[in-house]
């Protein structure tokens, strides 16, 4: 019963949603909409689970005094502070929460993102090697895209003595071609593969073949 009941619920709920997609009857559409509204509540609970998991992992790290445990402490203090401040004094403009968001969280997040430029430069220097045919192809394509997507690249191209004058739009054309043809073809392949994988996984779950979602993290 412990397994049969969740499997039955999964099958019936999943099958009903598929039915609602193909049968545009009023009663079916209304009930399917109601079920989707319930889904919002379920998804909202994932936030609670996420916070619970975060607290559990970091509290354990602090308790065991693992390396860098003080970062975990800072994280938990910030999490609790923002929650308490937001819950009791509001999150609108002019509140303490808003001030912290604007002056601490936003600049820190933006700084994290901007570090990417430094790491990309370092990684490109150390790892982007023309070791074989495939790597060389990737390297050449990446270089063309990097030059073609910036205004300075086009300015330099137009000033090249022979190439720029004879083929003024060649760099832009080549950049667009790489994006539209080889890139789009690769992306399509990945997307079709992922979609087929998702469909097969959904079917396996509906038919009760895939049962991993019934188990705990340990697989019991």
């Amino acid at each position: 019963m412990k397994k049969t009941l969740p499997l039955t619920i999964t099958f019936l709920a999943g099958f009903y949603m598929i039915l609602a997609f193909f049968v545009p009857h009023k009663i079916i559409a209304a009930s399917a909409q109601e079920m989707q509204s319930w889904e919002i509540i379920i998804v909202a609970f994932t936030l609670v689970l996420g916070i619970g998991n975060l607290i559990q992992v970091h509290a354990d790290k602090i308790h065991r005094q693992k390396s860098g445990w003080y970062y975990s402490l800072v994280l938990l203090i910030c999490l609790v502070s923002m929650m308490v401040i937001g819950l009791f004094w509001g999150i609108s403009e002019g509140t303490v929460y808003y001030w912290l968001y604007d002056n601490v969280m936003a600049p820190l997040s933006a700084a994290m993102f901007s570090l990417l430029a430094f790491f990309i430069a370092s990684a490109a220097y150390r790892a982007f090697r023309a070791r074989n045919k495939e790597a060389t192809l990737l390297l050449v394509a990446a270089t063309i895209i990097m030059i073609g997507r910036i205004p300075l690249g086009n300015v330099i191209w137009h000033h090249l003595p022979w190439l720029g004058a004879k083929f003024p739009n060649a760099l832009e054309g080549l950049t667009q071609w790489i994006m539209d043809i080889p890139n789009a073809a690769g992306q399509r392949g990945i997307k079709i593969g992922a979609a087929l994988g998702a469909v097969s996984m959904a079917l396996r779950m509906l038919l009760g073949i895939e049962r991993s979602y019934l188990t705990t993290g340990g697989g019991n």
Binding site: Q33, Q36, I40, I120, S122, F128, A130, R149, L152, N183
Partner: protein, 274 residues
């Protein structure tokens, strides 16, 4: 050559920092050419008659703000100039205050005549991702019973016109990942045929090529370059256009590092073969 391959990465960081800082200080004026994808996004908004409701979704957080904030700024400004009615929302909870920031920077500052509730509405955040999109397509009051300021949604004049997602002429998503632009294409366009456009970070732009070709996506602004192009189209060069010089020199520096790294690599390989 061996020394070159073992170069301390702090030198690379220093070079990048200096180049970007210098470019920002000097601000080299460079011509920005308009790409087809950005032109399509602009044309979609530009073709809408005054008073048409559109939905803008802020699907990013402060992490991607440097790239996506100029994008949202330019497009919101365009919509306000065209007198479109903008319904705002977001799928990233940490990104919602950014809507407020943009309202302050664009609407309250440069379009003071626009009234909340009539010309624009901020619905805020609702967890649920694609379920929220589907629910909004059925009934927007169910998905958002209240707006960001706790007003009842069905009491706002603009929201009386926009009862479901099907009442908006276009959806614009400023997207840093998932949930974002892709989710809007898959659920708003694919199921309800509402035109979707928007912008994304430069790194995720290649992912959307296939959707642009199939017209499932009506134009795209990729990263800061896309924003700079849009700024050119609305005739107001701003943050992104200034950022182009830093981005240009940054790219060239990366290419220079790749070339130096490869020269060192081939020199060492040749020496080892001998």
């Amino acid at each position: 050559m061996t020394k070159l391959t073992q170069l301390d990465r702090r030198w690379i960081f220093l070079a990048m920092g200096l180049v970007v800082a210098a470019a920002l200080l000097v601000d080299l004026k460079m011509p920005v050419t308009i790409s087809q994808d950005v032109r399509r996004a602009y044309d979609l908004i530009d073709s809408l008659p005054a008073g048409t409701p559109v939905l803008f979704s802020w699907d990013y957080d402060p992490g991607s703000m440097p790239e996506l904030h100029p994008l949202a700024d330019a497009m919101l400004r365009h919509a306000m100039r065209k007198d479109l009615k903008v319904v705002m929302m977001g799928h990233w909870v940490t990104g919602i205050p950014l809507i407020e920031r943009q309202i302050g920077e664009v609407i309250r500052k440069d379009f003071p005549g626009k009234a909340y509730g009539t010309d624009y509405v901020n619905l805020g955040y609702k967890s649920g991702q694609y379920v929220v999109v589907v629910s909004m397509a059925q009934n927007i009051y169910d998905a958002f019973p209240q707006d960001y300021y706790h007003n009842r949604t069905d009491t706002l004049p603009l929201m009386r016109k926009v009862r479901s997602l099907k009442d908006v002429a276009a959806i614009v998503s400023f997207s840093a990942g998932d949930p974002g632009l892709l989710m809007w294409i898959q659920f708003a366009w694919q199921r309800f045929r509402i035109p979707v456009t928007g912008g994304c970070t430069a790194v995720s732009a290649p992912e959307f090529s296939a959707y642009l070709q199939s017209n499932q996506l009506q134009g795209l602004m990729g990263g800061m370059r896309g924003a700079a192009e849009y700024e050119m189209l609305i005739g107001r060069p701003a943050m992104a256009t200034t950022g182009m010089s830093a981005q240009s020199l940054g790219h060239f520096l990366i290419i220079a590092f790749i070339i130096i790294g490869n020269i060192a690599y081939f020199a060492i390989r040749k020496r080892e073969e001998k």
